[in-house]
Amino acid sequence: MGEEPRIGVYVCHCGLNIAGTVNVKEVVEYAKSLPNVVEARDYVFMCSAPGQDIIKEGIKKHNLNRVVVAACSPTMHEHTFRSALAEAGLNPYLLEIANIREQCSWVHSDKEAATAKAKILVRMAVAKVSLLEPLEDIKFKVNKNIMIIGGGVAGLSAARDLAAKGFNVYLIEKKPVIGGNAARLGRLAHTELELKGIDVVKELSKHVVNNPNIHVYVNTELVSVDGSVGDFKIRLIKNPRYVNEKCNLCGECAKVCPVEVPNEYEFGLTKRKAIYLPYKEAYPPLYVIDPESCTRCLECVKVCPTNAINLNQKPEEIELRAGAIMVAAGHEPYEPPIGEFGYGLSNRVITLFQLERMLDVEGPTNGELKINGTQPKNIVFIMCVGSLNTTPNAYPYCSRMCCASTIKNALIIKDKYPEANIYILHKDIRTYGRIDEQLYIKAGEKLIRFARYGEAPNVIVSPNGSINVRFFEETVQEEISIPADLVVLSVGMKPPKDIDKVRTIIKVGCGPEGFLREAHLKLRPVEAATDGVYLAGTVTGPKNITESIESGSAAASKALSLLTKEEVKVEPIVAVVNEEICSGCAICIGMCPYGAIRLKVQENVRVAEVDPALCKSCGTCVAACPSGAMQQYSFKDKQLKNQVAAAFIG
């Protein structure tokens, strides 16, 4: 190392996020007293351009060769500050972040204690940074393919945009059909042309099917992902459809199939057979057998005129290489447990999505709103079912699309059945943005009645089948009871069932509710914290169709900025062998899950050697090395021990 460390310490206020709890000036003064610290300064937002300029000026003016930034978590802005170092001509790896926001000011309320802790964190960072070494980035060639998980509107729009730029897209869908949740929605709000969910899906699919750049894999699930940004090695499993391309959609098979199960595409309003076409305009346009309900009676095989059915089809393993991965795995509608707001106790209590199906002319009732043969007169919508902690089972967040969607459906009903009395029971109306508020205004004009509840309304289903909705109206402060012919539960969105499995394979974080987490909510909303992984659509939280398509396009354009590069840089914090100490015992080789270490013979001596292109920087081999010959750049024994020691000295 030779050169004496000359360290600059830069303490961020983060507005009041840090400065509200930590006495920043005191931390700066303290930092100045630490060994080798040449300059210490604070600024309101160190990550801002002027904040970065302070660091860059400091490096130049004081000839600094090490920098500590005391600010937010390194996952947030380590990259930003590394760039600032590089711009000032300093090696970007001579930086250490002291996390005094997430792990200090935000979790401690005692100002004195938080300030004392911030000082220790700065001291630990100074101790570590003084032993850091300059490193050079490792470069890889970028594979030009991208895999998109999820064939809903977000995934479809991303695939369309990426293929239009000439990139190869592997579109993976777990279900036997693409289109996702949007395909099941009826008339969409604000579309004068009576555009339906399926029309949006069809329009997007037009660019996707038969596109030579897009390879659609339905019935396909992710098995594993190895490698990293620029070159992911992906293994998939394509589950059998049991029906091949010879299927001409004649439907004879379904006629003879003896098995009936609830039709999930109609939200259980109708039954389907074990062999079925998900819906009329499904892509791919092929029947499919649901292996869970199929009894293998072979009746369908006997009647199929094109011999398209093969019950012996086996799952198929697929291996792909891609430079980037996009997760657009969507959401699931919240399904209330039996009894919640009377759901499941009467066919007069339905969800918003079931209503969407009933109002769709292609739906199970051909667009007629009829229950037990009669048209319901008193219709009560209950909003925030499954959202805003309305019930113990509900999620804490707002599901964003339900207010506009509820009012839209109420207006459709009112248009069609002007005699209907419609009540919308809500906690709060969130018809946000440029257009949705018009729906709310129009609903008022059409005399749709709005009432605000605080405590969850009580839906009472009498033994004779009649229903009463009772609640305390918050505005007039009065107990109200409405006899209802139909209760519609405006259910929200929840994370998809298998998302944890996908998330674990790709290594993306999630929030406490289970939606995937963006790298940064505001600055990097369509990227995961893992390099080369992008996020689109409702997998990060509730969105309407417009927002989902928007985020699909946004994620595509973010991915393009990676895919258009020839090479990608990887953090060079890999393992490295000190050949003079290495005894060639090979313990490290057994530790490495990537096969990155091998023994080489050098001057008749066996020593370990690390391939930096294969090393993923876990450091597991380092901890196992009995002689200390194996080390990890930026996480060397002496660097970490110095950091630990600094927690106590001083």
């Binding site: 996952t75 935000w106 630990m124 876990c618 970490l640």
Partner: protein, 142 residues
Amino acid sequence: MNQNFEPKIIAFLCNWCSYAALDLAGTSRMKYPPNFLVVRVMCSGRVDPQFVLEAFRRGADGVLVAGCHPGDCHYIEGNIKTLRRMTLLKRMLEEFGIEKERFRLEWISAAEADKFVKVANEMFEQIKALGPLKLKEVNTHE
């Protein structure tokens, strides 16, 4: 036992799961005692048992090593190596007279901020009850 005793805990956290969980605890404004100091490593597999000993020798009253859940390791199975090493270390620490409550290995996913805070608070309570770590003989080798 000294009522004013505030234990000092060093936590070695893997970058991907447990460090992210502690960040989430911050984002969620959860609360835990301040004397909880983090050393970030890329994988819990990087934690050399010597680091734990070093922390105790320097004056830690407790040490936490945390990583991804088995099967969830960002580096496939680094945490399994950690489990083996730390199991052995635990037995050794007891031989040294370091109470078992002072050292913990935990699997904490990026979403489990609440678990993290629970573990941290538990450690503080248990170690507070034990009092400061006394390592007279060892400490003479400075």
